[in-house]
């Protein structure tokens, strides 16, 4: 469908032409217009509010009235990194450990699925699988987590099925293992999509060449597929990591005693002890900043 753009005439086109010309000759003007609103919005609102939160982590809050006392102190960080009472360190370690475990599990579950979708499935099957993976994302995240409470409960479908097979109860209700399963479940689509995108970009000719050169399945996987899929895995891991680090809903619904994560503490204290919540919130920020720096080297950003 070719369009003969030269055919159009009139004052409007003339104006558009000179405007386009003006923009073309002054690239900085185009950049200004393009960049202005997003830059202003992000810098002004987002970055400023993060900076303010960082600043408030160095103040204290009155215990009774929750008023913020603007004296600079490291008290909040001392409470967190207190070795005599390592509660908050323990919770942070649990959160980071959970994030790592969930990332690994999701990667293991997602990879073969993404490979099947990218390289083996036909286009109809691929579309169908996409729909099957994306639909759960649309359904309410809260209700899906709550349904796991029912599934894992001691008289729930899981134990009912296990008992039917003659196996003992799973005892996963209100435990960290239960939380790990739920997290893996909820973030799985976020891992599948970038890995699929990365795998899809691998030309079939590369795989064929590898086989021609004598590489068996595992060798090809190790030397050809995995390195090329790594950016996709890294991108997916950013999602699973950051979503787990800040979640408080899952521990609330599925967790038991000893299941609190950083998100729970931060949300509980956010109004009555804002300074402590801000300081504790800096822990996931620091972890993510380090993680992003690490993952950048693996090329995740191209694969996002």
């Amino acid at each position: 469908m070719a369009v003969d753009v030269g055919r159009e005439t009139g004052p409007l086109r003339g104006a558009r032409l000179s405007l386009s010309g003006a923009f073309w000759r002054r690239p900085w003007l185009r950049l200004l217009v393009l960049l202005l609103v997003p830059a202003a919005a992000f810098v002004a609102v987002y970055a400023a509010s993060l900076g303010a939160m960082l600043a408030s982590s160095f103040w204290t809050t009155d215990s009774f009235t929750a008023e913020i006392v603007h004296t600079w102190t490291l008290d909040q960080y001392r409470t967190i990194f207190n070795l005599d009472d390592p509660t908050y360190l323990r919770i942070a370690a649990r959160t980071i450990g959970m994030a790592v475990a969930v990332t690994v599990t999701d990667a293991i579950l997602a990879f073969p699925l993404a490979f099947f979708m990218a390289k083996i499935a036909g286009p109809r099957t691929r579309s169908f699988l996409f729909v099957m993976i994306l639909l759960p994302l649309w359904s309410s995240y809260l209700v899906r987590i709550y349904s796991w409470t029912t599934i894992l409960s001691s008289s729930g479908p899981l134990n009912w099925m296990l008992n039917g097979l003659g196996l003992p109860d799973a005892n996963l209700a209100f435990t960290n293992k239960g939380m790990w399963i739920v997290f893996t479940y909820v973030w799985l689509p976020f891992m599948v999509l970038p890995v699929y995108a990365a795998l899809e970009r691998i030309p079939g000719s590369l795989l064929e060449a590898s086989y021609d050169l004598g590489g068996r399945g595992l060798r090809t996987f190790r030397s050809v597929i995995l390195p090329l899929a790594l950016p996709g895995l890294a991108a997916g891991s950013i999602f699973t990591f950051s979503l787990t680090l800040g979640d408080y809903i899952t521990p609330l619904l599925v967790g038991g005693p000893g299941s609190s994560l950083i998100g729970n503490i931060v949300s509980e204290q956010s109004a009555s002890n804002l300074t402590f919540a801000a300081a504790y919130a800096m822990v996931p920020v620091a972890v993510m900043v380090l993680y992003i720096a690490l993952v950048k080297r693996l090329g995740a950003f191209e694969a996002l």
Binding site: L35, G256, S270
Partner: protein, 387 residues
């Protein structure tokens, strides 16, 4: 191929910043209203579960046109967070909060609630003397709310599965019921442990379960850390507690009378008791937030909830005791013997036996000491117990 841009152009772009014009809510001048105006059509409350139960709230909505929007809270900390957050004073979205004694003073001193004109509450003059101007909602003669109801935290157990019937709080610290005990997820629970230790370890010298010196506090925390290993879970909302008892996952625990009544209505064989060591409890106040968007509806509700028939019905929904003794005959009409059952006919001694929730502060009310543990210490300790 990209085009190079001069640095100063970028700086120029970055300097043009658009900030939303602060639309600061104009705070109304703090003077007491002299009469209740027309209803605004809506009322937004932060409440304990069941405090605006449709069984008595529907009539209010029909009479006044104030449609109630409720937010249930699980603990006083949560109530405080909801009212204090969002810029304070209820954030411009909540009108009323049914604060217990451990949140009410905090809200007053944090400036989140406004004084109420009790002359606009006709039933106020009939209230029990102890609840007319109690120290937890009246400061220097200024009333910051209208007392509502009061009651105990009880011990609940499944009569079919727990034998013999327990009489002491020791049952929820007993390894016999490992994995089937639930307790509230609320830092104020430390007071329950302290209350238990007051009777079982008198050497600690605990005089007030909310005013604990460090050694007393540590002993209570240690007991709770032991208990954690025996728990099914900490419940934050009554619905969670009810579900655990209904499915049979939990068979004994600390609870509010509300859950017991709901479970009994669902034909679950449970019973609650006041154990021999005594109980903690709560005395609740409807407080009006500083930035309440519907103050007239709020006043109408406070007046309505203080009238004897409504007090009676609410008492029987939640399982608590009214502050208006004129509710007694109404209670007996709804449920024979309930007036005596909830001790409304002889409230003084009953009230004395309950250790009402209050905010832990550094100043101990006894012995002129200043080294009791404060709210933040309680919160931190609770995080170390449950986390």
């Amino acid at each position: 191929m990209r085009e190079r841009i001069r640095g100063w152009h970028v700086v120029l772009a970055g300097l043009v910043v658009v900030l939303a014009a602060p639309a600061a809510a104009v705070s109304k001048a703090s003077q007491l209203p002299t009469k209740i105006g027309a209803g605004e059509g809506a009322l937004s409350v932060v409440e304990w579960a069941g405090y605006t139960d449709p069984s008595f709230a529907k009539q209010f909505e029909k009479q006044t046109g104030c449609v109630i929007k409720r937010k249930d809270a699980g603990s006083s900390n949560e109530m405080f967070n909801l009212i204090h957050g969002g810029g304070g004073g209820g954030g411009g979205q909540y009108d009323l909060v049914s604060a217990s004694g451990d949140a009410s003073l905090r809200l007053i001193y944090a400036g989140d609630v406004q004084p109420v004109n009790i002359k606009l509450i006709p039933s106020w003059k009939d209230f029990l003397p102890a609840f007319k101007s109690p120290p937890h909602n009246t400061v220097k003669g200024v009333h910051y709310g209208v007392s509502l109801q009061w009651g105990p935290n009880t011990l609940i157990y499944n009569t079919a599965k727990v034998k013999p019937a327990p009489k002491s709080w020791s049952a929820i610290y007993d390894p016999k019921y490992k994995g089937k005990i639930t307790v509230p997820n609320n830092p104020i629970q430390i007071a329950d442990a302290a209350l238990y230790l007051q009777k079982t370890k008198p050497a600690l010298g605990i005089k007030d379960p909310y005013e604990l010196t460090k050694p007393q506090f540590d002993a209570a925390v240690a007991l709770l850390k032991q208990q954690k290993k025996l728990l099914l879970r900490y419940w934050l909302y009554p619905a969670d507690d009810i579900k655990d008892f209904k499915t049979g996952d939990a068979i004994i625990g600390a609870t509010w009378p509300y859950q017991t009544l709901q479970l009994q209505a669902a034909k679950v064989p449970v019973k609650e008791i006041i154990p021999k060591e005594g109980v903690t409890g709560w005395a609740d106040t409807w407080m009006l937030t500083k930035r309440a968007p519907h103050p007239n509806c709020a006043y109408k509700w406070m007046a309505y909830a203080s009238t004897p028939p409504v007090q009676a019905r609410q008492a029987l929904v939640f399982g608590e005791t009214p502050v208006n003794p004129k509710a007694c005959p109404y209670m007996d009409k709804l449920q024979k013997g309930s007036c005596a059952g909830y001790h409304l006919n002889a409230p003084a001694s009953y009230a004395k036996s309950i250790r009402f929730w209050k905010t832990p502060v550094k100043t101990c009310g006894w012995g002129g000491r200043n080294d009791c543990m404060d709210q933040q210490a309680w919160n931190n300790a609770w995080a170390s117990i449950t986390g």
